[in-house]
Symmetry: C2
Subunit: 259 residues, 2 copies
């Protein structure tokens, strides 16, 4: 089985020219096939503001009204995605920018309105891997923006962490798949105030324990839930680390384990 | 040889929901493989204005400074391209949005400054068809935005007519290729004031004659130059027509001929 590494990086890393260069330099050295899934929230907020579109966040999630959807399409699908693609090409990676609408890779539904109306936010329904897998086998490097579609002509703003997990799960039968979540800390910490307290291997049982005693904070929980879900669904390896550690994936960060 | 139709449509058609629907309905019925190349200038101008970026045109071409390049990436590569892709999916076309940077399809150089500095405008240098052809053979429908890259990490704003011609030429050895330029008139007119005066077949010789006596206006000339160049380079058929005639490509519009 061919090796595939799916790396998710947040907006901050890809929105800054210097950190993007460092990221892509490390990313380009990862062996085997690879996919980059990116965010871009800060730029979206800046562009929205300039366009007079108000940014509203609830529980850390963006409320995507029609105007904000346009901004998301412009910033995630255009500005940031195409900048990364062009930069990848300069690093010798034959990148291809994709959203879930392209090649019908990820279909979603508009999130049902319960307590909160998230607007044009998408909840993933299905992943089509036929063309994605074809591209990977021809050495293309998909660069994926946090947008999906509903199959009826509508783009939906979608959580990049979830997209990375769903793509990894869907490709797991064909590739020996590693899922890497990059974030600002060096890994999951046993002491939130001490960056040296990285938990090298985190079992699902200890995760539950850390969650109960609130060692692991709220923002981290969906990421870890996604990660454990991916592991249970055939993804070989899930690592939570800092983007600066991409070159030392085997040694640094937190590795999730099911036992 | 498989049949391939490359359709170029201007911004106006794809920027209006109703005309886009009509276009995609007709486009989806074209037999064989297909590619859509689109513009989007009007929206770029509107968004630029909202962002406080001044639009400057010289000889009908946009001056692309750094701020305008961001707008072009957002509007062409993001907003318009992803909207078309999502709408195509609803019409049963497995669309994939691409710029010249994606899969390294079209490399360009920043236009050399002579009398006018066009800024980040690209002149096409080379077309890579390997992955494009692979996608076409797997029934994907490329939707191409008017952006290329220089191979060194920079996106360049590029003329969509030229891109459509270059893509057709590059794919001509593998596909029986038709290039269709859609514009606001029903075809090339022998009397610019009479929409019923469509020239059914336009030879290169008559084109030169019409050009001398100014029957064919300045804006049309680069399009026709591109078209004749494509014909000379192995493209089977070049048609200039109105987007509303896409369903009757064999009967309407102007067909270029070399003799």
């Amino acid at each position: 089985m061919q090796k595939l590494t799916v790396v998710k990086v947040g907006g901050k890393i890809v929105e800054d020219a210097e950190s993007l260069n460092k990221l892509l330099s490390d990313f380009s050295k990862i062996e085997g096939q690879k996919i980059l899934v990116h965010g871009g929230g800060k730029t979206a907020t800046t562009i929205a503001e300039k366009l007079g579109v108000k940014t509203e966040m609830v529980n850390g999630r963006r409320i995507t009204n029609a105007e904000m959807l346009d901004v998301a399409m412009m910033v995630y699908g255009g500005l940031i995605n195409k900048n990364i693609v062009a930069k990848c090409q300069a690093f010798g990676l034959n990148a291809i920018g994709l959203t879930g609408a392209d090649l019908n890779i990820i279909k979603a539904v508009k999130r049902p309105v319960k307590d909160i109306d998230y607007g044009f936010a998408g909840d993933v329904v299905s992943v089509q891997t036929e063309h994605l897998s074809l591209l990977l086998k021809h050495d293309a490097v998909p660069v994926i923006a946090p947008l999906t579609h509903n199959g009826e002509g509508l783009i939906l703003n979608t959580n990049a962490d979830t997209m990375a997990a769903e793509i990894s799960k869907a490709l797991a039968p064909e590739f020996e798949c590693s899922l890497v979540y990059c974030f600002e800390k060096p890994g999951v910490l046993s002491n939130p105030d001490d960056d040296n307290s990285v938990i090298g291997r985190l079992s699902h049982e200890s995760f539950k324990r850390y969650q109960e005693d609130e060692t692991i904070n709220a923002g981290m929980i969906p990421k870890l839930d996604n990660g454990f879900d991916a592991l249970r669904s055939g993804v070989s390896e899930v690592v939570i680390t800092n983007s600066s550690s991409l070159a030392q994936l085997n040694d640094l960060g937190t590795r999730l384990t099911l036992d």
